[in-house]
């Protein structure tokens, strides 16, 4: 068993989840089963293989350039006023669970 109850509690904390007792027990079982399966990746030696975070890491970029210049295809000239207007204030607040009409309202941030 790689993942313990303690690990699940720690990861749930990182992920801003609470999880019930029952969910935590199930999570220990499922994560262990999935991680045992993904262990097969260790059969492959990959020390000299570069990681691929994006398809554009390998395709679409301009190899003749250096650094972030290689991704120049994805950039646009700077514009002073932005690309488009922002959402109207009431529209931006329209889906919020709680507002005072001007700001999003949340419970007290500083806790004991």
């Amino acid at each position: 068993m790689k993942v313990t109850d303690k690990d699940v509690a720690y990861v749930a904390d990182l992920a801003n989840l609470e999880l019930t007792e029952q969910e935590r027990a199930r999570m220990v079982r499922d994560l262990n089963s999935i991680l045992a399966y993904v262990d097969s990746l260790n059969e492959l030696g990959t020390d000299n293989v570069p990681p691929m975070a994006q398809v554009s890491d390998r395709f679409g970029l301009d190899d003749s350039k250096q650094g972030s210049e290689r991704f120049a295809y994805a950039s646009r000239p700077d514009v002073h006023q932005g690309l488009r207007k922002s959402l109207a204030h009431d529209v931006a607040l329209g889906n919020a669970p709680d507002t005072d009409g001007t700001f999003f309202k949340v419970p007290k941030v500083i806790e004991k």
Binding site: V3, D7, V8, Y10, V11, A12, L14, A15, N16, L17, E18, L19, T20, E23, R26, M27, D30, L31, S33, I34, L35, Y37, V38, D39, S40, L41, N42, E43, L44, T46, V49, P50, P51, M52, A53, Q54, V55, S56, R58, F59, G60, Y73, A74, S75, R76, L83, L87, V91, A92, G94, N95, A96, P97, D98, F104, V106, P107, K108, V109, E111
Partner: protein, 477 residues
């Protein structure tokens, strides 16, 4: 008007030639949905007002005798992970149960600009996470070909709606097979474009380096028309490619004789059901009969695709789904004690089991001490899997294999075993990791009367060729 086998061209011509009006056509689809969908469950929401306004606009153009756009009056549906301004969009999740987007997804907007009538929002697995549509927080979808079976997932509603003639064509999203696998289970055409071909602006993100929007249709030609409409650079998505978009439908008739078709033994190994294998082999024979050269190729890292995929996808998902904080939109739990309690309880109540599992797995794979062993390792393997395809495509024009190892399984069959469910994606996740396009087309029917799908992979940005092969196969039927 008979909605069975109604294609985009037939629907458009009927409207253009005045055999029906866009409004009447939309109304007949709504009637069909109201009578047939209760037993299938493909729609989460109908957007009648918006649809009928669009239809009326098309009808007035017809009346004035003006030139009509390519999808004029064609009734379509879109997966509920694509945001629609003023029309509730849930991503199949309770956490977005009341969400009314303030903007439109680019792909949906492009369909409407082309004259399409969007009937409503289609059911799917929560946040597109699943292979059976059973993870929808609202209701499962039943496969129209056999109501005891799943339609596949995550775009189960999009596939079922086309199969049951409740839309002429639909949009879905594909992160690990979520267009191709349900297309195969429901016996329709499903196309995952090249990563970057279609803007994802307004697609509720699951795994940003793998997500694609693409069409479901009854024919290769309809898929070609849909793709052309939605494809192309969009300043709102910096990953959308600034490349010319071919007229895919016009390219279909181009000569395909002498095409080299790769077959990888890794896609015909253990776990592939004999009937599915036989159907794919028969289809390959047919292509050979059209003058295609069948060539053996090797994709040696295929068996590592599922483990690499489930690490990359969940890591990205855990990050993307961090935005659901119950502040700006989404469900907020009642009676919370402080901010941290609000985050936790809102997310606990709002997310379903599979979504929590993936957030947990992804967070674990990214956490200090495990990042190198899991996430980084998976990214390195992703490079190997991509190189497999790049090498193979030096020898062939397309690569063909099964879409799924089995036809549609039964509702409930895999819900308690996440790993078994993940393995349903074994032949599809590779295209997402490598970023190549893939299309699933129906090629047979099993003894149990279930559709079998064949998958055609193409080179980066070469959707035109896989569509041509799909079209040539269809015509040879």
């Amino acid at each position: 008007m008979d909605l069975r086998n109604l294609t985009i061209e037939a629907a458009r011509s009927a409207v253009v030639e005045g055999k029906t009006s866009a409004t009447a056509l939309a109304e007949s689809y709504f009637a069909k949905i109201e009578s047939d969908d209760p037993k299938i469950g493909s729609y989460l929401m109908l957007s009648k007002e918006r649809a009928l306004a669009k239809a009326a606009e098309v009808d007035s153009l017809v009346k004035k005798g003006e030139k009509l756009p390519p999808l004029a009056g064609v009734p379509l549906g879109v997966k509920d992970v694509l945001v629609t301004k003023g029309v509730r969009t849930t991503a199949g999740s309770k956490i977005l149960g009341d969400y009314i987007p303030p903007y439109d997804c680019t792909a949906v907007a492009r369909l409407e600009t082309a004259g399409a009538v969007v009937l409503g929002k289609l059911n799917c697995d929560e946040f597109a996470m699943g292979s059976s549509n059973e993870n929808s927080a609202f209701k499962p979808v039943h496969n129209p070909r056999d109501l005891t079976r799943v339609p596949g997932g995550s775009s189960g509603g999009s596939a079922a709606a086309v199969a049951a003639d409740m839309a002429v064509a639909t949009l879905g999203s594909d992160t690990g097979g979520s267009i191709r696998q349900p297309a195969s289970f429901c016996g329709v055409v499903g196309l995952k474009p090249t990563y970057g071909r279609v803007s994802r602006y307004g697609l509720i993100a699951f795994a940003s380096s793998l997500d694609n929007i693409g069409p479901f249709a009854k024919t290769a030609k309809d898929a070609a028309i849909m793709l052309r409409t939605i494809a192309g650079r969009d300043p709102m998505d910096s990953t959308s490619a600034d490349l010319p978009v071919p007229d895919y439908a016009a390219e279909l008739e181009k000569h395909t004789r002498g095409m080299r078709v790769g077959v990888a033994k890794e896609y015909f190994g253990e776990g592939l059901e004999p009937e599915t294998r036989a159907a794919i082999e028969a289809a390959l024979q047919k292509l050979a009969g059209l003058g295609y050269e069948i060539v053996d190729v090797s994709l040696p890292h295929t068996k590592y695709a599922i483990p690499a995929y489930y690490l990359v996808a969940t890591a990205e998902a855990s990050s993307n789904l961090a935005r659901f904080d119950a502040v700006r939109y989404g469900h907020r739990a009642k009676g919370v004690r402080g901010l941290s309690d609000m985050y936790r309880r809102s997310r606990d109540e709002g997310f379903g089991g599979e979504v929590k599992r993936r957030i947990m797995l992804g967070t674990y794979a990214l956490s200090a001490g495990y990042y190198d062993a899991y996430y980084l390792k998976a990214q390195r393997v992703r490079t190997l899997l991509t190189s497999d395809f790049v090498e193979a495509f030096k020898k062939v024009d397309v690569i063909i294999g099964p879409t799924s190892p089995t036809p549609a399984f039964r509702l409930g069959e895999k819900v308690d075993d996440p790993l078994a469910m993940y393995l349903a994606d074994i032949y599809t996740v590779t295209a997402n990791l490598a970023g190549i396009p893939g299309i699933s087309i129906p090629v047979g029917i099993s003894k149990e009367n279930l559709p079998i799908g064949m998958q055609i992979f193409g080179k980066h940005f070469d959707e035109a060729t896989i569509l041509r092969v799909a079209y040539a196969y269809e015509k040879a039927q």
